[in-house]
Symmetry: C2
Subunit: 456 residues, 2 copies
């Protein structure tokens, strides 16, 4: 899936699962997830229904839809922030771009945040009017409307740090080059790299972030944008503390992807190195049952798909086994000992058909797919039409040596392919058949209906 | 998918694709395919819409829905045949079972067709009132209603040959043991078989068909049921010839699966031996462009999923590349030289969670999956939780020697796993994004919208 690719009409989101448990689920921020309005019309679904109303907001009530990515508004309702900026005195039809995502140099020349060289300038918006602060305001407004009795789920989805990489003062200047973490890359990676990896290295964003001058200028600003999130979440949590919401709210902090920022000679987020796929995940479970693990770090293999069943179990909803592919994290949150059958691998998949690498590789869209599986020892990557990649995560934790075509590892690769095929077992193609029906199916059911097969 | 597993609400069938091209698509016979009415209601889809009306008939107009499998009626409208039998003097609430699928012995005792030993008795229904003849009558009635101008697609889906294996006279007695083809099996197959294969061999239907007395009694009747199809299709084609429909109608004869009938010590249809997966496919393309291949046999790798785009292309509909996974067969029908990029493998998948083998293996439903890929040399089968199977289709065309755990074939298995993973490329997960959009996506589109990523 890419941004704005419509999900299937019968796909359910966190909001859909929590609704029967009485939850009001709202979005504040970006989603890039929607259903197809054309398809909704074609199926004769009432366009005034709750379902159709959430068509552009991933199933959540669009309390404040702010994609924060498209220079022009793209989705119905995605214009609150521009109107807000106008009301605060930032004029024009697109103050998101002109003020929040542009800076000004000493001479007053406007510098677009879309160009990395301009990251050093403070955004032309006051911190109190910037995207991160605005979304926090809107989140607090939403919380303020809750009566304390009815359950709710707020999907607070900040856009920053993100292109355009520019920060409001003082965040544009909080860090300097001495704060930057060491880059993870080696010259050896440039020597006969995997063709897909090579194509990503050739992209403009990768070439830019491979330059030391770019990293030194942009990464401190990127860190400032993270620090702003930190400060704004502090403000949100303080509000929740004062209103006694903190002790009855599960808080999950995570991200949809990492960012290479020059690691492995790459920019952006597309491939499977840890910089891209190992995302932050911090969960505060307010229940005293979770006190045993409070403040601790869990080293089990978890995935983003685990969040949905976590929320559903926490909210008292029904974990629909014929659909849900993740595993609730509550057992890990509430005991230091993981369930004996906890998964031993993590899985990821990409479709890079809309990325520049497709043009370099001259691929049809449907060939732009790759699958990754990682266990505690190996990370194996399958590419359509290209050789696989393999990394020894124990001996080479920074993934600098690709063993994907090393004859000595043929058996490891064969085993990882087997694991990858077997990992498909958790895919749920039969979503229309309740799990209990599936579990009870069998010859005994047939016979009860009078169907007797093969009896002499 | 199993019988009656609802397909996803936005899944399109042949009928859905042909509708915009002006086709009336109707079902006469079985489908075992439906949508979930509960889900249709949950989405607020008008239950009176054409879409909802075809909920139990695979998207086709249910001209005559006859599942012919369930002793009681299971789907709305699936009762035409019982009413017909009543009108012809066959009394009772379930004449399908009492007459069409039971026989009578010399002493007039009623013998159920559900028991194989009773296959020798003629069904208690006259041939002219039997299922195959009735469905042919209904097909002719449908054709008779066509005006000759509007295009139509008739899905004539005979249930027989099928359990209960019993035939009306004279078809119960047309063949004898000398007509039976040699059984394909070897004693070696019983020696340490693959666990999933072993579980299927233990099923009652497999044990029955492994017996020579059963095969000798049942197979001639099975052949009689096929002969009845042949005769009834002859009647249908004669009608079409006299009404000048034959020269303007594409006719496709195929089946949804084969039948082991004792091959490999198995009954039924579940696994991947040729007896099960290599189905008949005969296509009569009336267009003179197809004269070059008329009467010839094509040896290319084709699959059942190819029929949908074949019909759509023939009918002048739109082949929706973001959804359709098969390839139209028209190029093979209209030239003896296959397109250079025609596929070099065939793929198949099973979910045996509702079969008796699951109980024997003590598996969770979602572990009951297996994938098969076959090229001109090898057939490779992936099983969740079990070792793979491998057959050398050149040296061992009858698939009697499983090389799945033979160390000498480790490289072949690794290569076939790679092919299997790559074969996933044709799966279309992004059905909401038109192919043209997908093909045009890329950095150039982003830039046209003002999104500039990673420029210094």
């Amino acid at each position: 899936m890419a941004n704005q690719d419509p999900t299937r009409i019968d796909e359910l989101t966190i909001a859909d699962y929590l609704q029967p448990a009485g939850y009001r689920s709202a979005l504040v921020g970006k989603t890039h997830s929607r259903k197809s309005l054309a398809q909704i019309r074609a199926l004769g679904i009432d366009p005034e229904s709750d379902f159709a109303r959430c068509v552009a907001s991933g199933g959540f009530e669009p309390y404040e839809l702010h994609e924060g990515l498209y220079p022009g508004a793209r989705a119905p309702g995605d214009n609150g922030y521009n109107a807000y900026l106008n009301s605060q005195g930032y004029a024009g039809s697109n103050p998101w771009h002109e003020y929040a995502n542009c800076g000004a140099d000493k001479n007053g020349n406007i510098r677009s945040g879309w160009q990395l060289r301009n990251s050093i300038y403070p955004a032309r918006v006051a911190e109190e009017h910037s995207e991160t602060t605005y979304l926090t305001n809107r989140a607090i407004e939403f919380l303020d409307q809750q009566d304390g009795d009815s359950p709710w789920c707020l999907h607070l989805s900040y856009i920053k740090p993100h292109w355009p990489l520019i920060a409001p003062a003082p965040y544009h200047d909080l860090y300097d080059v001495s704060d930057i973490q060491p880059v993870q890359r080696s010259e050896q990676e440039l020597d006969n790299p995997h063709p897909v990896y090579a194509a990503f290295m050739e992209q403009e964003y990768s070439e830019s972030f491979s330059r030391e001058d770019v990293r030194k200028r942009v990464i401190p600003v990127y860190m400032g944008l993270i620090r702003q999130i930190d400060d704004q979440l502090g403000r949100l949590f303080e509000y929740m503390k004062q209103t006694e919401m903190l002790e009855q709210t599960m808080i999950v902090f995570t991200s949809d992807h990492g960012d290479y920022l020059g690691d492995h000679w790459l920019g952006e987020k597309d491939l499977f190195h840890e910089a891209s796929v190992k995302i932050p995940l911090i969960i505060a479970d307010p229940d005293t049952i979770a006190d045993d693990t409070r403040g601790s770090v869990c080293n089990e293999m978890v995935e983003a798909v685990d969040l949905l069943p976590t929320f559903v179990e926490y909210g008292g909803g029904v974990i629909n086994r014929e659909r849900i592919e993740g595993q609730s994290l509550l057992p890990l949150l509430r005991s230091k000992i993981a369930p004996a059958d906890w998964r031993q691998f993590a899985f990821s998949e990409i479709d890079y058909s809309e990325r520049g690498a497709r043009s370099s590789l001259k691929l049809e869209p449907y060939d732009c797919r790759a699958l990754m599986i990682r266990d505690r020892h190996w990370k194996y990557i399958h590419h359509n039409l290209f050789r696989p990649q393999l990394f020894d995560m124990q001996k080479d934790p920074h993934e600098l040596i690709d063993l994907g075509d090393n004859p000595a590892y043929a058996k490891v690769r064969a085993d990882m392919r087997q694991l990858m095929l077997t990992a498909r077992r958790r895919l749920k193609p039969r979503i229309g058949t309740p799990y209990e029906n599936l579990a009870n199916m069998g010859p005994q059911q047939d016979e009860a209906q009078g169907i007797i097969i093969g009896r002499w």
